[in-house]
Assembly symmetry: D3
Homo-oligomer: 296 residues x 6
C-alpha cells in the first residue's frame, strides 16, 4: 500500500473479530480519537475493545440470513492521530478513508468520538447521511471550537450533505431552529414509538430518494443507556437496538457506501455490553449492506 | 440566612449542574443520609454525584418545551447529618426544608435513602404524596426500628398524608393488608402496562382531586434495574423512565410544592447511568412544575 | 447423609437467602464450574453471589400469590468440582443431583456454566426440557471438545430428551439444521414479540403434552443484556424478564421436577443486577412450581 | 448454645477459610458494623469477604512454624446489629463476646469499623490493649457523638484499660495532649523506623509488664495504603505488614486473650489485597498466640 | 476580582477540603487538562477528586508541627480550558496564575497532566524548579507536538529556568544527552537510595543556592506505583512518599513561591489511594512552606 | 513457518509493545491458559493486556544501559489452547516453544497460569531453573490432578531440572520436606532481606555453576501484593521488584535461554500496575540477557 495517504495508517492493531480478508468489500478503520469528550473520555479505547469483543459474537445474522463469517472483513488498522490538533485529525481520517473509498470498498469506521465522522464523510463524500444520535450535533461551535463532537452534523451539513437524524432527544433551541431552517429532519424516540418502525423507515426512504451515496453513523448514545451505558454522554429515554436495526434493515440498499459506530467509552462500560452491542451493530449493518448488494 | 433552622445547612458543596440562582423558584437540598441501607450503602454520595452529572445534560426539555437553563436552580447545599441518630436527622431535614417551603420555594431534595422523605414532608406539610417505588415502605418497623427506609410511607401516612404509589412489586403480605385497610392505592408495573399511561394518570388525578399541596417522591428503585442499576435495593420487573415521566407530565399541576429523588447508590452505579437518569428526572419534573405554574 | 453419591457435596457454603429448611421440597445445589467459558469466565462465583443477593429480595410473589418465605429452601451446598476434567464434573453433578431427585425433591441448580445442565439432567432424568437461551447450544463439539457450554443441548438431546428453546438469536447454520432435523423447536425474541406471551405459552404447552418430567434451564444470556449484563456471553436483542416469567407462569405445572439458573458471571456484573435477577427468577419459578403442586 | 447472650448471634454465615472446629481455642466472630464511617463505608462487608479470602491462603506459618490447618477455628457467625443504634450494638457485641471469653476462648473479631472494639473489649475485659492504627482515636466525641470510630480508644481508655498505639500519624493536637496527659504511649512509623523492630517491641514488652490480659486490635489503616488500600480512611506513610507482624511476634505471649482486625472496606479494595492481608494477619497472629500458649 | 486575567477562572467548584479562606497565603487552582495523555486519560477529574478526598485527612502535620486547619486555603476554582488547543491552555493557566503570584500568594496547582506546569511557571516566573518525576520530560517534541506532557521540562528549561529532577527512571538516550548538555541534574531512585535523604537534599540545596524563586512540581508518577497506582503512566521502581517528603522538608525554605501536583488519573485509581496521597502531599508541602515563612 | 509444530500457533494477536522484528533474538509467545486457577481466574487475558501495556513503557534500561527499542522482539502470537485438557496444553506449548528454541531464539513466555512453565521447559530443555514465586509449587498433585499450578516445580523437578526458588513464603510442610529431600534451595523474603542482594545472588551463581542452559520463571505472586496486586493468589510479605531485578542482573549470563512471566490476572488489576510491572520485567530481563550475550 504505497499510496501516500496511508502514511497515517498504523496497521499494527488487533483485527475485528480476528478477520483478515483483504478481498472483503468491508474495510474496518479504527479512529481512536477522544480529544473533545467533555464528560466521559475513553472512546479512544473503543476500536481496540470492540475488535476484541467481536470475536465472541456469532457471525450469522438471523435478521438478514447472511453469514458474515463467510464474507469477512479487511481490518486495515488505526489512523494515527495527533494528540490535540483535531482539524489535522479530521484531515488524516479523510485521507486514509478516501483511499479505500476510491477502491470501491465499504468503509466501516470504529470511533472514537463523533468528530471522526467529519473526517470519514469528507473522505467518502456521500450526498446523504442517516445519523442515530441522542443529540442533533448541530451547534455552530462549542466554546469557540468548531471541530467538536457537538458540532459534527453542522460541519457535515455545511458542505452540502443531506442529514436525517433518529433518536433525537437532547437538544438546544438553537439546534432545533437550525434544523428547521436547513431542512434537517429528525425523529425523537417518542415519534418513533408513535409512528412505528415501518412508517419511520418509509419517511426516511422518501427523504433518501434523491441520494446517490448514503452514509450511516451510529452515535451509540442514540440507543437507550440501559442497552448502551458505556458512552461519553448517556441520555435517558432512547431507542432500543431492535428498533434501530429494524429501521436500518428497511432503508439500507446498495447505495450505502460506508458507516461508523462512535462514542463508545469502554472505561464507563464495566460490564462490556456496550462494546458487544457496537460489534453486533457492525455485523448486522454489514450483513444488510451485503444482502442489498447481492440483490441488486 | 440568619434563621436558626439553617444551622444544619452546609452550603459548601458543588451546585446542581453548576446553577447558582437565588431567585429561582426551585431550591435544591442535598440529603446525604444512608444509615439504614441494609443491602448496598452509598446513597450518601448521591447528592454530590448527581449534582456533577447534571451539568452534562441538556437543560431544554422536549417533553414540556421549557428550557430549565433559563430558570435555573438555587442549590443551597447539604443538610449536615448526625452519623447515626436518624430521628435527629429527620428533624434536621424537616427544619431546613420548612424554611424554604415557607418562602414559597419548590423544594427539590436529593437523597440519600428514602427515610429522608419523612423529613422533607414533615417540613413541607403536603396533604398528598405520589411515590414511585418498587416497595410499599409500609412496614411498621424494621428490626424494631421506626425510622428506616422500609417504614417511610407508614410514618408519613400516620400523620395524615394521602399516599398513592406507582411501580409497586416487592411487598410483604402485611404491607398489602395495611395499604388496603388505610386506603393507600398502588399500581404495580403490570397494572400500569395493562391500563396504559393515560388511564393510570386519570386515576391518580381523581385521587388527588381533594388535595391542596402535592409532594412527589422518586425512589429510583421504582424504575427497572436495567435503567437504574445503581440503587440500594434493585428489584426486577420495574417501570421504564418514559412511562414514569409521561404519567407525571399528566398529573403535575401547580399544587406540586416539592419533590425528591432518593436511593441512588453511586458505588453500585459504575457506568453512571443511574445518576444521569436521576438528574434527568429532576430536570424534567422541574420543567413540568414550571410549566404548570406558568399556565395557571 | 451417608449415601456415597454425596461424597462430592461440600456443605460448607452460605445458604440461599439464609434459608436452611431440610423439609422444604426445594433443594438448592451450587454448581460453581466455569472451565469452558471462552469469553468471560467467572460463573464459578455465581452460586455464592446469588445466594447472598437473594436475602435482600422480598419472598412474597405478587405473580403467584405465594410467600416463599413460608416454604423456604433446603440449600445442601456446592458440588466439589475437578479443576479441569469436565466429563468427571458432569458425572459428579449427576450423582449428587440423582440423590435428591430420588427423594422426590425439586432440584434447583445454580451454575456455573451451562455445561452443568448436562449433569443435572443426567441425574434427574426428565423427558422434556425448556431452555431459555440466546444460543441453541447444539454444536456437536467445540474445538474438538464435547463437554462444552456450546454443546449442552446437543448432548442432552442425544440421550432422548425433548428440547424446546426460547430466546434464540445467536446461532450457526449448522445448529439450525440440526434443530430442524431433530425436531427441536425454538422461539426467537422476534417470534415471541410477534406471537405474544399467550400464544408462545400455548405452543409450548402443546409440545409438552406427552411429557412426564419437565426440566427448565435459564441460561441468563437468554435475557437481554440490559437486564442481565453480567453473563459469560452477552448477546443483544434478547427477551425481557417479565416476558420470560409470564411464559413460565403459564406452562409450569406439577410435572416440573427441577430447574437451574446458569451463566451469571459476577466479575462482569459490577452493578449486581444480574445476580439480583437470577435470585428473583429462582424465587418466582419456585413459587410457580409450589402453586402448581398445591393446585393439583 | 442456650445462653441468652447468644440471641444476637447469627450463625448463618460462611466460615473463616471454611473452618468449623468447635474445639479450637480460637473463636471467630463477625462484626459487620459500619454506621459511623464518614468517608468510605463498606466495612460491613468485610467479615464475609475476609472469611472467603482466607481459604486461599496457606495455613502454615513460616514465621511461627505453626500449621493453623491443624488447629483450626471455630467460626460462630456474625453479631446481628441494629441498623443505627451504635450504643446498642456495642452492647450486643459485648454480650456475645463475653460468653466465649468466659469459656476461655481466644476471641478473634472481624470488623466492621473500629467502634466494634469498644464492644469486644467490654466483653473480654482486658487490662491492656495494643492498637495498630494510623489514628489515635482519642477524640472525646465526633460531631457530638461518643460511639464513633474516632473515639474508640478514648472510650476504652475511660474504663481503665492501658493503651499502646503503633503506626500513629494522623492526629489532632487535642488527641496528642490527651495521650500525653493519660500516659497513652504511641509510636509513629518514623519512630518505628528509627528504633527498629526489636527496640519498639522491647518498649512495648516493658509497658505490658504489669498486664494480666492483653488485647490486640489491628485497624488496617495502621498499615500503609500501598499494602492496604481498601480501608475506610487510608493515610499515607504507614507501616509495612512485616514490621507489624515482626513486632507482634516478639510481644505476643500467653496473656493475649483476644484480637481483632477492623476497618477493611471491600468496596474500596477492588484488587482484593487488603482482605488477603487481613486474613493473613489473623492467621499469623493466631499462630503466634497458639505457639505462646504451647510454650508456657 | 475584576482583573481581566480572571475571565478564565471558573469559581464554581468544590473547594479543597472545604476550605474557603480568602486571607490564606495558599491559593489553590484546579487545572483539569488531560488532552495529551497518550496512555491513560482522566487527570482532568483529579482536581475535583483530590479536593473532595482532602476533607478526610487530618490537617495537623506531625512532620512540620503545623496545623494547616488553622491556616487554611483559598481555593479560587478551576481554569476554564479549551477542549483541544493546548498552547491556548498554557496561556490561560499562565494568566490566571500570574494574577495571584503578583498578589504574593503561594500558588498550589492541582493538575491535570504535567503540561499545566508550563503554564504555572510561565505565570509565576520562578528561576529554579525541583521536579519529582519518573520521566525527564525533556523531549523536544512528541509526535511533532511541543506542548505535550513529555516535553514539559524542555519547554520550561528553554526559557531559562534551572531544573533539578528526582525519581528519574524512564528515559530516552536523547533526554539524558540533553540533560547533560544543559546541566540539568537528576537523581534516580537508585541514587537516592545509595546517597540517602540527607545527602540528596544537600546536593539540591547547593544547586538551589543561586535561586531567588523556587517552584516544586510533583508528577505523581515519580512515586512508586505501589503508592500511586492511579497515574497516567505508572513506572515501576519509584520512590516512596516518605523519602520524597523528607527530602522536601530539608530543601523547602521561604523562596518557594508555588508548587503543583499533577498526573493523578482517578479512573485508574479505583481504591482512591493516589488521590489521598496527592492531597497529603499538598498539605505537607504547604505546612513546610508555612513553617519556613514563619521562621524567616 | 511450515513446521507442523506451529499448527497450534495463532499469529493473530496484538504484538508486544507493537514490536514485529523477525530478526530479534527474543521470541514472545502468549500462553493464555488459566484452567486450574482455583482462586482468581483471568490470567488468560494477561498476554493480551501485557502486550498492550508494554507500548507505554520506555524501552531504554537504565539498569543495563541497553535500549531494547533498538533490538526489538519477534512476537509470534499465542498458543491455541484446549479449553480444559491441561496435559494436551502442556504438550502444545512444548511443541511450539521447541521450534523456536531449536532456532537459537530466547523464548519469552507470557502466561497464563504457572502450569505453562511445564510446557515451556519441556520444549526448551534447560538443565537449571530459577523461579521467583511466593509458593514452592512442589505439591505432587492438587485434588488428584498433576498438571496444576500448585505442582509446576514438582513436575519440572521430576525430569531432572535443578530448581532454585526466590520469594518463598506460602508453603505446606510437605513441600518443605520435598524441597529438602531433593536439594531444591529456596530463599524466603526474610532471608533475602537478611543476606542482601549480593549474597543471595552469589549463592545462586554458585548453585548454577554446573548448568548449561538456564531458564527463569517469574510467578508474579513472588513480588509483594503492593506492587503486584493483580495476581491469581496474592500473598503478603513478598519481595519488591528492585530487589528481584537487582538479583537477576547479577546472575543472568549468556546461558539464559528463555524466561516467562506468569500468573498476572488483569480482572483483579483494576489500576493496571501489575501488567505494567510484568511488561517492565520482560524488558529489563531481555536487556540483561542481551547485554550478557554481547559481553561474552
Ligand atoms: Mn453525536
Ligand atoms: Mn450523541
Ligand atoms: Mn422506598
Ligand atoms: Mn424502594
Ligand atoms: Mn447456554
Ligand atoms: Mn447462552
Ligand atoms: Mn481506628
Ligand atoms: Mn484508623
Ligand atoms: Mn512529567
Ligand atoms: Mn512522569
Ligand atoms: Mn507458581
Ligand atoms: Mn505462586
Amino acid at each position: 500500500m504505497a499510496d501516500s495517504r496511508l502514511l497515517f495508517l498504523n496497521e499494527n492493531s488487533r483485527t475485528f473479530a480476528g478477520f483478515n480478508r483483504p478481498a472483503s468489500p468491508f474495510v474496518i478503520v479504527g479512529l481512536p480519537m477522544d480529544t473533545t469528550s467533555s464528560f466521559r473520555p475513553g472512546s479512544r479505547f473503543a476500536p481496540s475493545v470492540i475488535r476484541d469483543t467481536a470475536q465472541y459474537i456469532e457471525f450469522y445474522s438471523i435478521r438478514s440470513g447472511v453469514d458474515m463469517g463467510e464474507i469477512g472483513f479487511n481490518d486495515v488498522g488505526d489512523v494515527v492521530l495527533h494528540p490535540s490538533n483535531n482539524e489535522e485529525n479530521v484531515r488524516r481520517i479523510s485521507e486514509v478513508v478516501s483511499y479505500f473509498a476510491e477502491k470501491g470498498k465499504v468503509v466501516v469506521g470504529i470511533g472514537g468520538e463523533h468528530t471522526v465522522t467529519i473526517g470519514t464523510t469528507r473522505g467518502i463524500r456521500p450526498d446523504c447521511l442517516v445519523s442515530v444520535d441522542a443529540h442533533l450535533d448541530l451547534r455552530d461551535d462549542y466554546m469557540g471550537y468548531k471541530y467538536d463532537h457537538a458540532c459534527v452534523m453542522r460541519r457535515i451539513s455545511e458542505y452540502g450533505v443531506k442529514i436525517i437524524e433518529i433518536g433525537t432527544r437532547a437538544v438546544s433551541r438553537e439546534e432545533i431552529e437550525y434544523a428547521n431552517e436547513k431542512g434537517i429532519s429528525y425523529f425523537t424516540p417518542k415519534q418513533v414509538r408513535l409512528l412505528g418502525v415501518r412508517e419511520v423507515a418509509q419517511k426516511i426512504i422518501t427523504a433518501l430518494k434523491e441520494c446517490n451515496k448514503v452514509y450511516i453513523t451510529y452515535d451509540m448514545d442514540g440507543i437507550d443507556p440501559s442497552y448502551a451505558p458505556g458512552v461519553a454522554t448517556p441520555e435517558p429515554e432512547g431507542l432500543d437496538p431492535t428498533t434501530v436495526l429494524d429501521i436500518m434493515s428497511l432503508i439500507i440498499d446498495k447505495r450505502v457506501i460506508g458507516f461508523d459506530v462512535v462514542e463508545v467509552s469502554p472505561p464507563f462500560d464495566p460490564s462490556g455490553v456496550t462494546s458487544v452491542l457496537a460489534a453486533k451493530i457492525i455485523l448486522e449493518t454489514a450483513s444488510m449492506v451485503w444482502k442489498a448488494r447481492q440483490q441488486s
